[in-house]
């Protein structure tokens, strides 16, 4: 399985993602934002970080960079594209995913472990996943998922909500919403479920000694689904 991680100026989770993908069997290539061609990939990852210093709006500059046209074409043909944190922001800014990510409701940078409940397993990202609730890590200032009422209904009807912020037992309520996201949404899919954007970082949970193992479960399952 071939994967590509795009590095933008200001990305800082690109190498963590590279380590995670390789650990679970992907042949990963790092791609510079100024490149035009995307190598043959089964998965393209837009990593976390602060691309272009979060100027204007998070992800807005990166969404216009050269490589993004290839990523958009790849995604429109059904290619798998996953955006984590800043990568999620880039996906909404490029129009590949609906909605927007606003400043956290309580104006605080959130950096902590969170639990997420998987809402839809009928896709290549979560199919056959052994667990329903995963512990991931979040670190962001603009993770407050927003979309209009009509769009909420639309993404709900199309089963586009991928994961919700929850507690360890799967309760979804305001107490375990770290940033004010509508309906506790932590990640969403495109209509065809080939694009996934989420604020939590699975790549930070791939070593039980350092952090946790739920990222390992996610990546192991992902590569098996893509094979």
């Amino acid at each position: 399985m071939n994967s590509s991680v795009i590095t933008f100026p200001g990305s800082n989770c690109d190498r963590d993602m590279d380590v995670a993908l390789k650990k679970f069997g992907f042949k990963n290539k790092m791609i510079w934002h100024n490149d035009v061609e995307l190598p043959k990939s089964d998965l393209v990852v837009l990593p976390g970080g602060f691309s272009y210093g979060d100027y204007l709006r998070c992800g807005s500059m990166a969404s216009k960079s050269k490589i993004m046209q290839s990523v958009i074409n790849f995604a429109k043909k059904g290619g798998k594209v996953m955006g984590i944190c800043n990568g999620f922001q880039i996906l909404v800014e490029s129009g590949l995913l609906p909605g927007a990510l606003l400043r956290n409701k309580y104006l605080q940078f959130v950096c902590k472990n969170v639990f997420v409940k998987v809402n839809n397993k009928d896709n290549d990202y979560f199919k056959n996943l052994k667990k329903d609730i995963l512990e991931f890590h979040v670190a962001h200032n603009e993770g407050n998922y927003y979309c209009s009422k009509e769009q909420v209904k639309e993404i709900n009807d199309n089963n586009q909500i991928a994961i919700y912020y929850s507690d360890a037992t799967g309760n979804i309520n305001e107490n375990n919403n770290p940033n004010g996201s509508i309906k506790n949404i932590a990640g969403i899919f495109s209509k065809k479920k080939n694009i996934l954007g989420m604020m939590p970082h699975p790549e930070r949970m791939i070593d039980p000694v350092l952090s946790g193992n739920d990222g390992s479960i996610f990546f192991e399952n992902l590569i098996n689904n893509l094979k």
């Binding site: 807005s60 927007a100 409701k105 979309c147 209009s148």
Partner: protein, 80 residues
């Protein structure tokens, strides 16, 4: 031609920074404030001399980059 644009969050989008600024102004004794909304201001100096053409270009810039129309509105406030 210099075109000035103001971009603000849409009415139904929560503006927590505006809220905090409102509260702080209240605390400083500036009462009678109903609401504070924070926004962004751009001055774009173009080589275009025709006002209509310049504004049309800036509008296009707003739609494609300067504003995110999911959450923001833009308003051209001055061209000179």
């Amino acid at each position: 031609m210099k075109v000035s644009v103001v971009i603000t969050l849409k009415k139904d989008v929560l503006d927590p920074q505006g809220k905090v600024i409102h509260q702080t102004l209240d605390g400083m004794g500036f009462d009678n404030i109903n609401e504070v909304r924070q926004g962004k201001y751009f001055e774009i100096v173009t080589k275009e001399d025709d006002k209509k053409k310049a504004e049309k270009k800036v509008e296009d810039m707003c739609k494609k980059l300067l504003a995110n129309l999911v959450i923001e509105d833009y308003r051209i406030i001055e061209s000179q």
